[in-house]
């Protein structure tokens, strides 16, 4: 059930990342941690969403208008649907500027997910 609007996967605290969970290799995740982390992976678990996310993440200026990235082989409503999902998962943010809507990657997300996938030794500090 997706009753949650936007998941607080990470503290919107600028660069300071508040990862939901330790690296997967460090200790077994408990149910709650797994629930949270799985939402992130799930959001990227669709090819269309992954392409949209990658298109935004790699776009110059760190943001992209929908019109710039909507050429992924599905209809416009479907693109909008996926962008909404990515937003609900906390991976993207959107901002309307005039006629167009610009999406950008929530910066801490990449760090958080990357942290999950690191080997147990993390160069903290």
């Amino acid at each position: 059930m997706s009753n949650a609007k936007v998941l607080p996967l990470l503290e919107p605290d600028g660069q300071s990342v508040a990862p939901c969970c330790p690296p997967l290799t460090e200790r077994p995740l408990n149910a709650e941690e797994a629930e949270t982390a799985a939402r992130m992976f799930k959001a990227l678990g669709d090819p269309v969403r992954l392409r949209l996310f990658s298109a935004v993440a790699s776009h110059e200026g760190g943001e992209a208008c929908v019109c710039d990235i909507s050429d992924v082989g599905v209809s416009q409503p479907t693109v909008s649907h996926h962008l909404k999902k990515l937003k609900e998962a906390g991976l993207l943010t959107s901002e309307r500027r005039g006629t167009w809507v610009y999406y950008r990657v929530e910066p801490s997300v990449l760090a958080a997910m990357g942290h999950l996938l690191t080997k147990a030794s993390s160069p903290a500090a």
Copy 2:
């Protein structure tokens, strides 16, 4: 964010885990790349699978018997089902030793997925 201590990238081991894609932040993935990468993310996009994967990844010796990790709140067939999915996605390998079956993490997977989530790699001198 250099990958100084990262594992050997990907072995030519058939279709387990392809050297699929550049970092998501580097270039927009094409359809084929997204298809491949999404399969990995999707496999970890379920809480039960994520717990199983984490349990294996964090288990001593780098491997775990099913009996050691099957306490995730679902029935035994469901555990087996998810382990199969993880295996099909190339994230785990299994080996039967006597009565028990041991699962271990395909090591290149963590590197490959981590690589996807890195910031655009700077041409380190």
